[in-house]
Amino acid sequence: MNRIAQLFKEKKNILSIYYTAGFPQLTDTLPILETLEKAGADLVEIGMPFSDPLADGPTIQQSGQTALKNGMTINLLFEQLADLRPQLSIPVILMGYFNPVHKFGMERFVEQCRKTGVDGVIIPDLPFDEYREKYEALFTQAGISNIFLITPQTPEERIKLIDKNSNGFIYMVSSASVTGTKKEISEQQTRYFKRINNMQLASPRLIGFGISDRASFQKACDYAAGAIVGSAFINLLNNEGNNPEKISDFIQSIKKTN
């Protein structure tokens, strides 16, 4: 069983952290991952920077621009992750836009993921149908999860299809919006969470976009297996860099139960 499936089997209230590779410093990628594992994050998504990311808000966009300026590339990322296993046990997902991955070569990319011990991939602009037609076999064979996003507007039929062909989890975008920290979870979002919850899907779900603190995290956990924090963590890195103490405080402040 891959590490993602194992995690969802064993744990509830999963906290997944998103950060950008090569940010704030080029060599921070692996040290931040170590810090996050120690600090108690359950799952990590590492963003591969792209200059024109259509789904990301200003915070993540800016971190990507900085990482690109620092010289971050997919090649370099795999080099930086060469010692990921067995040193760390936290499940790791790579997230990035289709063009750089396509240019790198999907086959080579999946092979590199397998070799380094990356467990899953999110390519938000890879069409689901194209994935199934061209790449699904590749991912299945390598045992790498490909995670798809759904939104409040995704048709029920499509959600069921994604559920059926999903190995890992379904990424629920909490509203039709770009990433970024919003203060509260609205009535409308809650209705959406409930609706999806009532669909009795086989795949576990994580809620992302707009989760920034304990309140929003716990609300998300009421309706899903956990949630993803991105922009709020990038903001912390922006201010503090890879500061283990501050990162630990941040993770604890979100996970702490009343």
Partner: protein, 413 residues
């Protein structure tokens, strides 16, 4: 070129694009989930409304009584005589209300948005022509309008910025990266996602995810339909050659689409070579790009080894984009259209030449097409004809031209 049967088959209009928005392998929808449904809504609405007689009638009324269509075709005799070769004809899109072809699709997109119940139009703009045209359509139809524009372009095309503001639009600077057209598209998508319910994204060319390349082409195809009839009336024939500049590709596909099946017509798309053929010095996407994905569609793309879009450069802000329309990408692959380049200096020379010989100041974008036609004409017999799409007028460019080339052409104080 392939055999006749083959060409007809490859260009079958009913296959262009497929239901999923593909022109061959190009186009499609490469979108994050949040955008997929939003853009799908536009595709559905366009499908429903485009053949509605009252929609077509309303649009045609505005074309005639508001924009001033049909735009004339003008035989540029002085220029042709000076060059001593082929006869150059100009399709005068520069005479449209707001000064460029962009108004053709802006009115279409604005009418569609209104029928969809949207209250605000948003878009990116490079040279400011699309922004001005959209702000105009918004004012006419009582819609709000936000225009995203690179900070660099705001300085360069300042007269158009002021026009947009006079028309009641908000001009919002894109401040990241090179601060030009690509970044303006990023900013517009970002804004669109924040409120896809009241806003309508009226993209400025035949680029972006399906249905934009098809929809904008359909709205622009009036250029070619008119020009074909006008040219036949003037000369009794089809033109031997067509020339248009290619940024995203809307004015060019607008002209070309009426002639794609006419095999006697040679078609040329002109891209900006900027200051050199070195990466970063030009924006000649079809000439130097490789297939890739940007802004939700597949096309030829100027990109580096890592799949990041390459920096682009040209004096014509409206051509300054690392991607290009998917239909152009397809027309290149099947060899139906020849894509070639004109550099900054050639474009500015043509800009001045057309002004001095014909009394027409072209947009710097259009000057690329004029320059290419001039080059071609010089080596051709006098009975050959070249129909150039003069996509816009150069009023917006005069400050920039004086500043950069004032001394060279004796136009500064």
């Amino acid at each position: 070129m392939e055999s006749k049967v083959n060409l007809k088959e490859q260009l079958r209009v009913e296959n262009m694009p497929t239901k999923e928005g593909y022109f061959g392998e190009y186009g499609g929808k490469f979108l994050p989930a949040a955008l997929e449904s939003v853009i799908g809504e536009i595709a559905e609405a366009y499908d429903r409304i485009k053949d509605d007689p009252s929609f077509k009638e309303e649009l045609m009324y505005l074309h005639q009584h508001y924009t001033g269509r049909p735009s004339p075709v003008f035989h540029a005799k002085n220029l042709s005589d000076e060059l001593g070769g082929a006869q150059i004809y100009l399709k005068r899109e520069d005479l449209n209300h707001t000064g460029a072809h962009k108004i053709n699709h802006c009115l279409g997109e604005a009418l569609l948005a209104k029928r969809m119940g949207k209250t605000k139009l948003i878009a990116e703009t490079g040279a400011g022509q699309h922004g001005v045209a959209l702000a105009t359509a918004a004012a006419l139809l009582g819609l709000e309008c936000d225009i995203y524009m690179g900070e660099v372009d705001i300085k360069k095309e300042y007269p158009n910025v002021v026009r947009m503001r006079i028309l009641g639009a908000k001009v919002i600077p894109a401040t990241h990266g090179l601060k030009t057209l690509k970044e303006a598209v990023d900013a517009a998508f970002e804004a669109y996602l924040k409120d896809p319910v009241t806003q309508f994204y009226a993209i400025g060319s035949v680029v972006g995810p399906h249905p934009f390349p098809m929809m904008v082409r359909d709205f622009q195809s009036i250029i070619g339909i008119e020009a074909k009839a006008q040219f036949r009336e003037m000369t009794g024939k089809l033109p031997d050659n067509l020339v248009a500049c290619v940024g995203g590709g809307s004015n060019s596909i607008g002209l070309f689409s009426a002639f794609l099946h006419d095999e006697s017509v040679n078609i040329f798309g002109v891209e900006p070579a900027g200051t050199s053929f070195k990466t970063g010095d030009h924006a000649a996407t079809l000439s130097f790009g490789k297939p890739g994905m940007i802004h939700g569609f597949k096309c030829y793309l100027l990109q580096d080894e890592e799949g990041q879009p390459a920096p682009v450069n040209t004096i014509a802000s409206g051509l300054d984009y690392p991607g290009v329309g998917p239909q152009h990408s397809y027309l290149k692959d099947i060899n139906r259209v020849n894509y070639d380049t004109i550099n900054d200096q050639e474009a500015i020379d043509a800009f001045i030449k057309l002004a001095r010989l014909e009394g027409i100041i072209p947009a710097l974008e259009s000057a690329h097409a004029v320059a290419y036609a001039m080059k071609m004409a010089a080596g051709m017999p006098k009975d050959q004809t070249i129909l150039v799409n003069l996509s816009g007028r150069g009023d917006k460019d005069i400050d920039y031209v004086v500043e950069r080339f004032g001394k060279e052409f004796n136009i500064s104080e």
